[in-house]
C-alpha cells in the first residue's frame, strides 16, 4: 500500500467532492423533509398521503409508471425471445437499429409528438383518411397520459430488451431441451423453465424501467401533464425556501428510486445456477425458416419504425412549413434552423451546453480515473467505499440532485458562484458531472483491469517516478476506455434534462434542453425552432454514440446496463 502525496491528494479531492456535492445536498433534503419546528417529524411526508389531490397525483404517477413498464415489456419480450433463441440473416443490423431509441431523450421526441398527437395533427388526420375516425380526435385531451406513456415506452423498451436477451442467453439450452424431451410443448417449456429462470434478471429490468418512468421530468412537462410527482417537484422549486412539501416529495422520489434500484440489483444478482455440469453441446439459437424470417422482420421492422416516429416527427416539425390537418407537412423549409442560429437565446444555449458538457467531462475523467486508480492500483483502504458512494448517483434521479443543490447552495452560499439563482453554471456543470460519474467510473475500472499492472511495474523498475509511470504508461493504455467514457459523458451532459430545467432560471444561462422547453410555448413557430434545436441535438448524440461504438465495439452494451 504505497502512500505518496499523489495518492493522498487524489483521495482527499475525491472524498471532498463527493461529500460536498453528493452527500451534503442529499442530507439537506433529508433534513428539510423530516424536521419541522419541533424536531424530527414525519408531518410533511404524511401530508403527501393525506390530501385527496396529493394522493391522486401519487396514484397518477404510479399508474403512469405501471403503464410504461407494461408497454415496454409487451414490446421487448417477443423481440428479445426472437433474438435470443433464433438466428436469421441481418440479425446484427436489426439488433443495432433496435438500440436507436436510446439515443434521444424522450423530452426532445415529445416536442415533435405533441404536434402529431394534437387535435388537428398527423395521427388524427391519418385516422380520418383511413376512415377510422369521423372527426379530429384530440388524443392528448382525451387521454392525457397517452403521449407520455408512448414516448417513455418507446425510449425504454431497448433497456428491457437488452436485459431480457442477456437473461435468456444465460439459460443453458439443455435445460429447455430436457423439458421438451420429457413432454413439454414449446409453450409449456417457456412457462415452466424459460420464464422462471429468466425472471430474476427480467424483474430487475422491470423495476429499473418503473423507477425511471416514475422519476422522469421532461416528458410530462412537454405534454403538459402537471399533476405527477416529478412535475410537482419542478413547480415547487420557486417555493423551496418557504414550503417544505417540495422536500417531502423529493424525499419520497429518492426513497422510491434508491429502494427500487436496490431491489433490482438484488433480484438480478441472485442468479441460481443455470447449469450444474459442463456446458451443453447444443447451440441456443435455431435458424428460422423462410416464413419465420419474414414474420420476424415484420415484427421487428414494425417496432423499429414505430420507435423512429418520434425522431421523425421532430425532424418534420423542424423542417415543415405548415403541418395542420395533413399527414405530412405541406411544405419544407430551412428557415427554422436559420432562426435558431439567429436567436440570441439559442446561440447562448448552445454555447452554454458545450461549455458545461466539456467541464463536466473533464471533471468526470479526473474523478472517475482517480477513484478507479485508487481502488485498482493503489488499493487504499476506504477506496472501495469511495467507489460505492460514487456509484450512488445511478440511484438518484437528476430531479433530486437539482432540487438538493438549489436548497443547499442558495441557502449556504448566497450570491456567489455557487448560488444557482445568481449563476447556475458552476452547479450545472457539477450536477452533470455527478450524474455521469458512475458511467465514467465503470469505464475507467474496465480500462485499468484490462491493463496489466506489470507494465507499470516494469516502468518503475527502469527508473520512472509514479507520476511519470502514470503519464507515460497507465494513461495511454487506458485512453481508449477513458475517451469512450468521456464521449458518452459529454453527449449525455449536452442533453441533460432534469438538472437543466430546474437549475437554470434565467435566459442567459439556459442550456439547450431548457431553451427547447422555453421555445415550445413561446413565440410564433417557437415549437418549430425548438424542434430545429432538437434535430441538432439528435445529430450530436448520434455521432457521439457511433464514435464510441467504433472505439469500444461490443462492450457498448455494458454501458447501458451499468446499473446491473
Amino acid at each position: 500500500m504505497k502512500r505518496n502525496t499523489g495518492t493522498w491528494i487524489a483521495f482527499v479531492f475525491a472524498v471532498a467532492f463527493l461529500a460536498v456535492f453528493l452527500a451534503w445536498p442529499l442530507a439537506h433534503v433529508f433534513r428539510n423533509a423530516l424536521v419541522d419546528e419541533g424536531g424530527w417529524s414525519l408531518t410533511y411526508v404524511r401530508n403527501l398521503f393525506v390530501a385527496a389531490d396529493q394522493i391522486e397525483a401519487l396514484a397518477r404517477t404510479f399508474l403512469l409508471a405501471v403503464c410504461v413498464t407494461a408497454t415496454s415489456l409487451a414490446v421487448a419480450l417477443p423481440i428479445a425471445w426472437v433474438f435470443a433463441r433464433h438466428s436469421f440473416p441481418g440479425k446484427s443490423l436489426l439488433a443495432a437499429l433496435l438500440l436507436v431509441p436510446l439515443i434521444l431523450p424522450p423530452f426532445v421526441g415529445a416536442v415533435g409528438m405533441k404536434l402529431v398527437f394534437a387535435r388537428c395533427g398527423a395521427l388524427s388526420t391519418l385516422m380520418m383518411k383511413l376512415d377510422l375516425a369521423k372527426g379530429p380526435v384530440d388524443w392528448l385531451g382525451s387521454y392525457p397520459l397517452l403521449g407520455v406513456v408512448v414516448m417513455e415506452a418507446l425510449h425504454l423498451f431497448p433497456v428491457l430488451y437488452l436485459n431480457l436477451v442477456a437473461s435468456l442467453a444465460n439459460i443453458d439450452p439443455s435445460l429447455e431441451e430436457a423439458a421438451s424431451n420429457l413432454g413439454a410443448s414449446p409453450w409449456r417449456v417457456f412457462r415452466r423453465v424459460t420464464l422462471p429462470l429468466a425472471w430474476p434478471g427480467l424483474f430487475g429490468g422491470l423495476v429499473l424501467v418503473f423507477i425511471w418512468s416514475f422519476t422522469e421530468l421532461g416528458t410530462p412537462l412537454v405534454f403538459g401533464v402537471r399533476r405527477v410527482l416529478p412535475v410537482m417537484i419542478y413547480d415547487s422549486v420557486s417555493e423551496i425556501g418557504t414550503n417544505p412539501m417540495g422536500y417531502a416529495r423529493v424525499l419520497l422520489v429518492l426513497v422510491f428510486s434508491a429502494g427500487g434500484f436496490w431491489i433490482s440489483k438484488r433480484a438480478g444478482g441472485r442468479r441460481g445456477v443455470a447449469t450444474l455440469g459442463r456446458l451443453s453441446v447444443a447451440k441456443a439459437e435455431k435458424p428460422l425458416s423462410a416464413k419465420g424470417t419474414v414474420l420476424a422482420y415484420l415484427l421487428i421492422g414494425a417496432v423499429i419504425l414505430v420507435a423512429a416516429v418520434p425522431h421523425l416527427s421532430v425532424v418534420l416539425v423542424a423542417v415543415g412549413r405548415r403541418w395542420f390537418m395533413t399527414v405530412l407537412p405541406e411544405g419544407y423549409t430551412l428557415e427554422f434552423f436559420g432562426r435558431a442560429m439567429a436567436s440570441q437565446m439559442t446561440r447562448d444555449a448552445l454555447r452554454n451546453s458545450l461549455g458545461l458538457a466539456f467541464c463536466a467531462t473533464v471533471l468526470d475523467v479526473l474523478l472517475g480515473f482517480g477513484i478507479a486508480w485508487l481502488c485498482v492500483r493503489r488499493r487504499v483502504r476506504g477506496a472501495d467505499i469511495l467507489d460505492a458512494v460514487a456509484m450512488v448517483p445511478l440511484a438518484v434521479p437528476g430531479l433530486v440532485i437539482a432540487f438538493g443543490y438549489i436548497g443547499t447552495f442558495s441557502g449556504a452560499f448566497p450570491r456567489t458562484l455557487l448560488d444557482p439563482r445568481t449563476n447556475p453554471l458552476t452547479l450545472l456543470a457539477i450536477s452533470y458531472a455527478v450524474r455521469r460519474l458512475p458511467y465514467m467510473l465503470r469505464a475507467a475500472h474496465a480500462g485499468l483491469q484490462q491493463t496489466s499492472v506489470t507494465y507499470e511495474e516494469a516502468a518503475a523498475n527502469l527508473g520512472a517516478s509514479p507520476l511519470r509511470v502514470l503519464r507515460r504508461i497507465t494513461l495511454p493504455l487506458v485512453s481508449a476506455n477513458l475517451l469512450a467514457g468521456g464521449i458518452l459523458c459529454f453527449a449525455f451532459s449536452m442533453l441533460e434534462v432534469a438538472d437543466s430545467l430546474i437549475l437554470a432560471q434565467s435566459e442567459e444561462f439556459y442550456p439547450i434542453t431548457k431553451a427547447i422547453y422555453a421555445l415550445i410555448d413561446g413565440l410564433e413557430n417557437g415549437v418549430n425552432v425548438a424542434a430545429a434545436l432538437g434535430v441538432w441535438a439528435m445529430a450530436l448524440l448520434g455521432s457521439a454514440l457511433l464514435w464510441t461504438a467504433s472505439l469500444l465495439g461490443k462492450r457498448m452494451g455494458q454501458m447501458f446496463r451499468a446499473g446491473q
Binding site: 435445460l175 424431451n181 420429457l182 417449456v189 429462470l197 445456477v273 455440469g277
Partner: protein
C-alpha cells in the same frame, strides 16, 4: 407409412440417416436397428457423430436424409415432446429452480397425471435409484453421483419404451463411474426398456452392451456384440479402438476353411478369419494379436523372436514392449515374479492360432 421388415421386432430402426452442419458432415448414411429391451451402445471417439445421432433420435436435431422409425412408425413429423424417449443429458440439465421431486415429476405433470399418483410414483422411483427422502432438496445441494440418479429417475418414472443416454458417466470420478455402471445395468435388467447409450469409453461399452455400433467420422464401422467385435474386429479402426492391438501385415498364401496361411515379416503364420468374404490368395491382409495373447514361447502356435525393450509394472499385469526388426509390439502378462524378463534380451514369443485374427 413404411413398416420395418420384421414388424414389432425392432424398437428403433435407423435407415440411411445423414446430417450436415454447414461444411461438416456429422453423419453419413448411418443405419442400424435396436431390438426391444436391448442395451444398445453407440461407441466412438469425439466427433464421430454419436451424440448427433442420439439427438436425432430425441428429435432435438432433424436428419437431412433418411428415416428414423420407432416401433415401425416414422418419426419425421414427431416433435421432441411427443417422442416418448426421455434422455439422460451429459450435463444432467437438472432445473435449478425446481426441487428434486419436481424435477423427477416433470414428465408426469406434462402427462397431466393426478397429483396423488405423481407423489406416489416419485417416492417409489426415488427409492429405486437410492435417493429415498431427497425429495425436497434442490439439485445444487446434491453430489455428482446423486444428481446422476435424479436424472435417471426423471427418465425411468415415465415407464417409456426407450431411454436415451448421452455419456451419462463422463462427469463422474472413476470409482463412482464403476458404481453407476452397475446400477444402470441393474436398472436395465429390472425393466424391459430399450436403452440407447452413447459413450467414448470402450470399457463401458464392452462391459454393459448387449450389442454395440462402433462409429468413426460420421459412419458406422461395425455392429455386433462386444465379444464379436473385440475378438474379431472387422477393421483396423475397430481393433485399435476397442483395445490394445499388435498389427502385423502380411500376404495370404492359402486358405483352409477358417484358417488362413499368411506370410508375414515375423514369420509364416496361421490365422483365423471370421468375416464373410475371405481374402483370396495373394491378397494383402493385417493380422491382429492382442497383447494379452502374447506369451513367452512354450511351443505351438505362431512364434517369432523379439527383443525386450522395457518391462513396466501396472499392478496386476506387466506390459512388455518388444521390438522385432521394424515392428514394435506389446505383450501384457500376468504379474508373476518367476517371469524374470530382462530388457535387452531377445526371447521367443508365441500367440495361438485362434488368437491371431485376420482383419478384413
Amino acid at each position: 407409412m413404411k413398416k420395418s421388415e420384421t414388424p414389432n421386432h425392432t424398437a428403433i430402426d435407423v435407415r440411411n440417416v445423414s446430417k450436415r452442419f454447414g461444411e461438416i458432415t456429422a453423419l453419413d448414411d448411418v443405419s442400424f436397428t435396436v431390438a426391444p429391451g436391448e442395451l444398445f451402445f453407440l461407441l466412438g471417439p469425439s466427433g464421430c457423430g454419436k451424440t448427433t445421432m442420439l439427438r436425432i433420435l430425441a428429435g432435438l436435431e432433424t436428419a437431412d436424409n433418411g428415416e428414423v422409425l420407432f416401433d415401425g412408425r416414422d418419426t419425421r413429423n414427431l416433435p421432441p415432446h411427443r417422442r416418448g424417449a426421455p434422455m439422460v443429458f451429459q450435463n444432467y440439465a437438472l432445473w435449478p429452480h425446481l426441487r428434486v421431486s419436481e424435477n423427477v415429476a416433470f414428465g408426469l405433470v406434462e402427462q397431466k397425471r393426478p397429483g396423488q399418483e405423481i407423489t406416489e410414483r416419485v417416492r417409489r422411483t426415488l427409492e429405486r435409484v437410492g435417493l429415498a427422502g431427497m425429495d425436497d432438496r434442490s439439485p445444487g445441494e446434491l453430489s455428482g453421483g446423486q444428481q446422476q440418479r435424479v436424472v435417471l429417475a426423471r427418465a425411468l418414472i415415465l415407464n417409456p419404451n426407450v431411454i436415451l443416454l448421452d455419456e451419462p458417466l463422463s462427469n463422474l470420478d472413476a470409482r463412482l463411474r464403476a458404481e453407476m455402471r452397475e446400477e444402470i445395468e441393474t436398472l436395465h435388467g429390472e425393466t424391459d426398456i430399450t436403452f440407447v447409450y452413447v459413450t467414448h469409453d470402450q470399457a463401458e461399452a464392452l462391459s454393459l452392451a448387449d450389442r454395440m455400433a462402433v462409429m468413426n467420422e460420421g459412419h458406422i464401422e461395425a455392429i455386433g456384440t462386444p465379444r464379436e467385435l473385440y475378438h474379431y474386429p472387422p477393421s483396423v479402426f475397430c481393433a485399435d479402438f476397442l483395445g490394445e492391438s499388435n498389427l502385423v501385415p502380411g500376404t495370404v498364401r492359402a486358405r483352409d476353411g477358417e484358417v488362413l496361411h499368411v506370410r508375414t515379416s515375423l514369420g509364416s503364420w496361421h490365422a483365423v478369419y471370421r468375416g464373410s468374404r475371405p481374402p483370396a490368395a495373394g491378397a494383402a491382409v493385417t493380422c491382429l494379436v492382442r497383447p494379452e495373447h502374447v506369451r513367452p514361447d512354450g511351443g505351438g502356435g505362431n512364434t517369432w523372436e523379439a527383443r525386450i525393450e522395457s518391462v513396466r509394472l501396472n499392478g496386476s499385469t506387466v506390459t512388455v514392449a518388444l521390438s522385432a526388426g521394424d515392428f514394435a509390439l506389446r505383450a501384457t502378462l500376468l504379474n508373476e515374479s518367476t517371469l524374470g524378463l530382462q530388457p535387452g534380451t531377445t526371447v521367443r514369443w508365441r500367440a495361438s492360432i485362434e488368437n491371431t485374427v485376420v482383419l478384413p
